[in-house]
């Protein structure tokens, strides 16, 4: 990469680091993995910086890289070995008050795809079509995954359901 491009990349990363880091943390659920995934995503961004910088919405491009890096990272051989049972798809039906979870813990209990859908839609504020574009799937899939994820959260976080009634 030429020096001016690298300077622009460094400026962008420095400016967007806190927000990107927070998104990565919501996706991963812990800071160690969040920083690891973000770094991988930023290295990919470095390799494709010219394309990203030329895009109308660089943030959308970077978001897509970050989410896909997270999904790939969770699919790696190493991650599957060291995180067995880390993301159970079906939460337990009932919980005692001592077992009730906050959002961070609840997100850790649902699948990576559902977590990505929730983060994109309710943290990043994307609509169904934008979320589908980032994830490379159909809007119907986004809708169904959102529905499943919310149902799971309702079971995992009954206090919040009651509060909203």
């Amino acid at each position: 990469m030429r020096a001016p491009d690298e300077r622009a990349y460094a400026d962008y990363v420095q400016g967007r680091m806190p927000a990107l880091r927070r998104t990565s943390f919501h996706l991963c659920g812990d800071w160690h993995e969040a920083d690891e995934v973000l770094q991988l995503a930023l290295i990919k961004l470095y390799r494709h910086w010219r394309k990203a910088a030329a895009a109308e919405a660089p943030d959308a491009y970077v978001r897509k890289v970050l989410v896909n890096t997270f999904l790939e990272h969770r699919a790696t051989w190493w991650q599957r070995r060291v995180r067995p049972g880390d993301t159970p798809h079906e939460p337990p039906p009932t919980q005692t008050p001592e077992e009730r979870l906050d959002l961070r813990q609840a997100l850790a209990r649902i699948s990576k795809g559902q977590r990505a859908v929730l983060v994109l839609r309710y943290w990043e504020g994307l609509d169904v079509a934008e979320t589908a574009q980032v994830l490379g799937c159909s809007p119907g899939t986004v809708k169904s995954q959102t529905s499943y994820a919310l149902a799971a959260l309702r079971r995992l976080m009954p206090d919040y359901i009651q509060e909203t009634r």
Binding site: R21, H26, W31, L42, Y46, W78, D102, L103, L153
Partner: protein, 460 residues
């Protein structure tokens, strides 16, 4: 509804335990390294792909798509004959076309690394004549004057057939003999139709030993000529033992060395006359007769005697070891006359054939054969080719040596010496292709695994 509160819940997630944000410089360093590594990976993949493609193209059976036809161009002789290569393809798999030379090449002090090689007459093609290989050693052979095929016999047993290896089309065929014999091949007629050989119906106790057939035929062998197209065989019982034969250029006469005498006979055996020779001399094997029919090349002939297993004295007639010079005499001299030597004796080497009526091609040297064109009048010679001496055999422990060289005598007359090009050794042998693909797959597999693990551990 929980979905309405989710943005707020996301905002409320406790991030107080966040470690300091990663520094930018290490990230840039890793990003630059990643770019470099991908570039090198791309180059390596491209190289491996090129190697695989080259291998695949070499594997492609060109000869099956384009049936070989007899080339009509001027035959050539490269100024350097390529060194040993274990990757040389076999004639049966990828024929290299008509040959200007055939030879055994290699060494076998510790590891048997011999190859029976055919050097193409039209290009720098090198092929292994796999039909010459037997479990008991290589078959004795002769190259046809047109370079199109090799005639072979059995190395250590009686046989009912001659084996013909087609260097142009790659196949082999057999020519049946009237009865089983042990035979030593002597010469092929200039039209490549007939082959002369010395044969014995049984092997002696001595003859059954290593190299025994040539010993037996040199002592007892009878001359016979077999037509390679019809299988018809003519015997010459008057020539026993027969040591060497050379066909006349018209193919209608033979010069025959029997014991220490030289005779000329018609191929039907009806007319026979003796040729005067200088003392201790006889015809050079296979190629003694000059293309104009005027001269016979002679070498020194001698005898070996020993007591056999039954305590009888045995005598075998053989070329003189100590005097390997070539002397030319008139082929038309009458028996009552005196041998007339033409020119000076050529000091050293083995006669391979004639370049013209007054020049011959000689080969000398064991580990680095040198091919020299020598005028019969003894004027200065010139080197036209040599075996590349740089290559070695047996994992560099020995030098490669050249044996049993035969030339396509008909092609030598018009062959043009030329600068050697890159050797064409044909498609890689299957074992080598399998090894290359195995290594390729292993490299790609290890690369992919390493890449995944490095990606997973990029932060640490």
């Amino acid at each position: 509804m929980i979905e309405q509160r989710l943005p707020e819940l996301f905002e409320a997630v406790d991030v107080s335990d966040a470690p300091p944000a990663p520094a930018l410089d290490p990230l840039l360093h890793k990003a630059r390294r990643s770019v470099r590594r991908r570039r090198w990976t791309a180059v390596a993949v491209m190289l491996l792909t090129v190697i695989a493609l080259v291998g695949a193209v070499q594997q492609y059976p060109h000869h099956r798509l384009a049936p070989a036809s007899p080339p009509s161009g001027t035959p050539t002789l490269p100024d350097t004959i390529a060194g040993y290569s274990a990757l040389t393809a076999k004639v049966s798999r990828a024929p290299g076309g008509r040959a200007i030379l055939i030879y055994e090449f290699g060494n076998g002090e510790l590891i048997n690394m011999f190859q029976p090689i055919a050097l193409g007459a039209d290009a720098d093609t090198y092929r292994q004549i796999d039909a010459a290989e037997t479990g008991r050693g290589y078959r004795p052979w002769l190259l046809s004057p047109d370079g199109a095929f090799v005639v072979m016999s059995e190395p250590s047993a009686l046989t009912r057939q001659l084996t013909i290896a087609d260097l142009v089309k790659g196949g082999t065929r057999s020519v049946s003999l009237p009865e089983p014999v042990a035979l030593t091949l002597l010469a092929i007629s200039p039209d490549s139709r007939r082959v002369a050989y010395a044969s014995v119906p049984t092997l002696s106790a001595d003859g059954a030993a290593a190299n025994g057939i040539s010993q037996d035929t040199a002592r007892y062998g009878t001359l016979a000529i077999t037509d390679l197209s019809t299988g018809a065989t003519v015997r010459f019982p008057q020539f026993q033992p027969v040591e060497a034969v050379a066909f006349a250029p018209d193919g209608q006469q033979l010069a025959v060395q029997t014991k220490l005498e030289t005779w000329i006979a018609t191929v039907d055996g009806h007319s026979v006359r003796r040729v005067p020779m200088p003392p201790g001399r006889g015809i050079a094997p296979r190629v003694a007769w000059s293309p104009d029919g005027a001269l016979l090349a002679t070498i020194g002939w001698g005898t070996d005697t020993w007591q056999n297993l039954e305590n009888k004295t045995e005598t075998v007639y053989r070329p003189e070891y100590t005097d390997t010079s070539i002397l030319f005499v008139s082929a038309t001299a009458q028996a009552a006359g005196t041998a007339v030597a033409i020119g000076k004796a050529i000091p050293q080497g083995e006669l391979l054939g004639w370049r013209s009526a007054d020049r011959v091609l000689m080969v000398d040297g064991y580990e680095a054969a040198i091919f020299t064109e020598v005028p019969v009048d003894g004027s200065p010679s010139r080197v036209v080719s040599r075996v590349d001496p740089r290559h070695s055999c047996e994992l560099t422990m020995q030098k490669c040596a050249t044996f049993e060289i035969r030339a396509a005598t008909g092609l030598l007359l018009s062959a043009e010496p030329r600068a050697a090009g890159a050797p064409n050794r044909g498609p890689w042998p299957p074992w080598f292709v399998a090894a290359v693909l195995g290594v390729l797959l292993a490299v790609v597999g290890i690369g992919l695994l390493t890449r995944r693990r490095m990606r997973a551990h990029a932060v640490t």
